[in-house]
């Protein structure tokens, strides 16, 4: 976040992102309890399906209408070869505005950066950044150190490959970890580059409360980055020690989602 809201948006007026077909997964509560809808946004290489595994149903069980969208080129959405962060944020804001009520945006990994961009174009009721990859060279250094063979190709436009051990804790049965890792696709080369260099997102409109959650043992996002991200939004991160990067798929997926929903239930958000 830096600078102010830009209200002259010639580029967005002159070249709006091309419309695409988008995958949206959903789980709805039995009755309307008046809770706000949640829109989950996966990180690079992942799709809405990652949230359909556990979190959507769990949130619906607690009374929240829960949705997840795959930005173009991800999951079952239409391909988005040259897509940039702007297109991904467009996909998220499109789906948020289509919901019946003001939504809470929940972004995971680089999806948190997409959400940060989206917050400048949609006054979300609240936002949650889960294991946020907000870009810059710090995370790149960490990734190079931990998994050089998966990371270096990304520098040349190839896919970024995160290893099983970067993504999950050892508590997750190996066959599941393999299956989840195999399902992963990739973000566009341009978007990968943008992770390193991008114009910082404009300030969020509508001043939503923002929660940062993650694991100090995440091997993609260093603990320091979590604290920094939380500080940017004026808070401290919620931490789930012992978990991997993929909080929504790891063995103890229930703890973070419960904590997030508790925060929403308790906060001024409702």
């Amino acid at each position: 976040m830096s600078g102010g809201t830009r209200i002259i948006r010639s580029r967005e007026w002159a070249r709006p992102p091309a419309p695409v077909r988008r995958e949206v997964r959903r789980a709805l509560p039995a009755g309307d309890e008046g809770k706000p809808p949640l829109l989950f946004v996966p990180g690079f290489g992942s799709g809405a399906g990652a949230f359909a595994e556990h979190w959507l149903d769990h949130a619906a069980g607690r009374g929240f209408p829960a949705y997840a969208v795959s930005p173009r080129g991800h999951g079952l959405s239409a391909p988005g070869p040259g897509a940039t962060l702007r297109e991904y944020a467009h996909d998220v804001v499109q789906e948020a505005a289509a919901l019946p009520r003001r939504a809470v945006l929940v972004g995971h990994g680089a999806g948190a950066l997409v959400v940060a961009y989206g917050l400048a174009r949609y006054p979300a009721r609240a936002a949650v950044l889960v294991s946020p990859v907000l870009g810059g060279f710090g995370p790149l250094r960490a990734a190079l150190a931990r998994n050089p063979f998966g990371t270096v190709p990304a520098l040349f436009g190839g896919p970024l490959r995160l290893s099983r051990r970067q993504l999950f804790s050892r508590e997750l049965p190996e066959h599941l970890a393999d299956e989840y890792a195999d399902r992963r696709g990739r973000a566009s080369a341009r978007a990968q580059w943008q992770l390193l260099r991008h114009r910082p997102p404009e300030p969020a409109v509508g001043d939503p409360p923002v929660l940062v959650a993650g694991s100090p043992d995440d091997r993609v996002v260093p603990a320091k980055a979590l604290t920094e991200a939380a500080r940017r939004y004026g808070g401290a991160p919620l931490l789930f020690p012992g978990m991997g990067h993929e909080l929504m798929l790891d063995a103890r997926w229930r703890e973070p989602i419960d904590a997030i929903l508790d925060w929403l239930d308790k906060g001024s958000v409702l």
Partner: protein, 466 residues
């Protein structure tokens, strides 16, 4: 014991200046109208933590775009002339699945969804008309309402601030030609044209070359027995698409180069010459002004129908006889129906003219057509005619007003800077090209010039870090 003259005998209920009881709404802000501009004001004020009471004389939201409303100016065939990215609120996009230029019904459903999504309706009093807005001292306002149509009693409530968003496309501007009163044919205003049945099989004269006149002429071309289209000058007719892209998007792209106006005008003249061609070949007058100097007409079908003979362009009306219309070139026409598509006049019957700093012609002179210099807690939203969509401008107007109301409590010195802007800028135009002499252009703005100034104002009003 003497009671304060501003209170009733028990000293509890405040009174208006002429002694009516007032219910005090504390820090609540009043918004007049639940059209596109009013809804944005309600949402943005709520977002800035204000209580809001919105009064709407109709029974639904959407204002002009709700064609069930008796004063709605749209007809069955109306589509946006600004494409989606230029038309939508900057923080609530229209769906990707919609076409570039949605029809009026979609625009209404968009505004209804906006009201649903942000839960605005609980703040709107429908079927309630504002009849008077008076200063109550201490920069507060007494707003008097009654149920629409005048039955029932009036109520007065006191507010911390007022946003006037009553729209400017509902009070017809009717010309008065010699002999018009004794004319035996039918004369209606463009706003009363709703659907092609009204012209089917009839000889129709459409007066006025704005977007309304052109839209109606095009419909009459296919449905009426004959259609004359009378304009008092030549215009530039922009098609909806240039090179397969919405024209306003192409224009927005050109604006990014920040070329001087004369060069942009040259470029656009060139493009229109190539794409549209020489208008005089169609029997239309040559434009008496450069492109961008008149409110844009976006209509790709008019010339097509002129070419098919469905529309006959004619000059201005000179006078009426009992049974015919005489044009300035002496020609005599015998229409069954005359449609005066001559535009609208803004009206603010509920406000004392002085409060809006009206000039000799009765036109408000407001900073950014929004902020009166002498009334810090009064704003007008949507009183602009941009070369783009109205909604983005109306949105930022109300954001600026909400920020201003907050800042004047929180940081009076910073707020003072904004007031300087307001009093210094009351006579601004925010339009790059000098408009034609037509009185309708007094609130015409270039969206980029306008928003650039609004950006400066918003930057001045940036929230103080807590």
């Amino acid at each position: 014991m003497s009671t304060d003259p501003g209170y009733d005998a028990n000293g509890t209920l405040p009174l208006t200046r002429d002694g009516r009881a007032v219910s005090d709404r504390g820090g609540t802000v009043c918004v007049i109208g639940a059209g596109a501009s009013g809804l944005a004001a309600v949402k943005n004020l709520l977002e800035h933590g204000f209580g809001v009471d919105c009064y709407e004389r109709e029974t639904g939201v959407g204002g002009a775009w709700n064609w069930r409303h008796d004063r709605s100016p749209v007809s069955a065939g109306t589509h946006l002339i600004s494409s989606k990215p230029m038309s939508q609120y900057p923080d609530f996009p229209m769906p990707d699945a919609w076409p570039d230029y949605p029809a009026h019904g979609l625009v209404l459903s968009y505004l209804e969804r906006y009201a649903e999504h942000f839960e605005l309706k609980p703040h709107v009093w429908f079927g309630t008309e504002v009849v008077r807005v008076e200063p109550a001292g201490g920069d507060r306002w007494d707003v008097t309402t009654r149920s629409t149509g005048g039955c029932g009693s009036q109520r007065t409530s006191r507010y911390a601030a007022v946003v006037v968003a009553n729209g400017h496309n509902w009070a017809p501007r009717m010309p008065a030609y010699e002999g018009q009163e004794s004319y035996r044919g039918e004369i209606i205003h463009g706003s009363a044209y709703k659907e092609p049945n009204q012209v089917r099989g009839r000889k129709v004269l459409v007066v006025g070359g704005g977007n309304t006149g052109c839209d109606i002429a095009v419909e009459a071309a296919t449905h009426a027995a004959r259609c004359w289209h009378s304009t008092r000058r030549g215009y530039w007719y922009a098609p909806k698409y240039l090179m397969g892209r919405p024209t306003d998007q192409v224009n927005a792209g050109v604006l990014r180069w920040r070329l001087p106006l004369w060069l942009r005008q040259r470029l656009m003249h060139r493009v229109l010459r190539l794409v549209v061609g020489d208008l005089t070949r169609f029997g239309l007058p040559r434009p008496d002004h450069g492109v961008f100097q008149s409110h844009p007409i976006v209509n790709g079908q008019l010339l097509h129908h002129v070419g098919h003979g469905g529309i006959r362009p004619v000059p201005e009306v000179a006078r009426f006889t009992r049974h015919s219309v005489i044009l300035t070139d002496g020609r005599e026409l015998d229409p069954d129906l005359v449609v005066m598509a001559t535009g609208y006049e803004p009206r603010f019957e509920f406000l004392d003219p002085g409060l809006l700093d009206r000039d000799a012609d009765g036109r408000p002179r407001l900073y950014l057509h929004t902020f009166p210099a002498a009334q810090p807690t009064l704003a007008v939203a949507g009183l602009v005619q941009p070369d783009s969509g109205v909604l983005p401008l109306a949105h930022w107007q109300s954001v600026a007003f909400a920020r201003w109301l907050r800042l004047r409590e929180a940081a009076p010195q910073r707020a003072a800077r904004f007031r300087e802007r307001v009093s210094g800028g009351a006579r601004g135009r925010w339009k790059d090209a000098t408009p034609t002499d037509s009185p309708r252009h007094w609130f015409e703005v270039s969206h980029d010039v306008y928003l650039r100034e609004l950006q400066r104002a918003l930057d001045d009003l940036k929230a103080v870090p807590a």
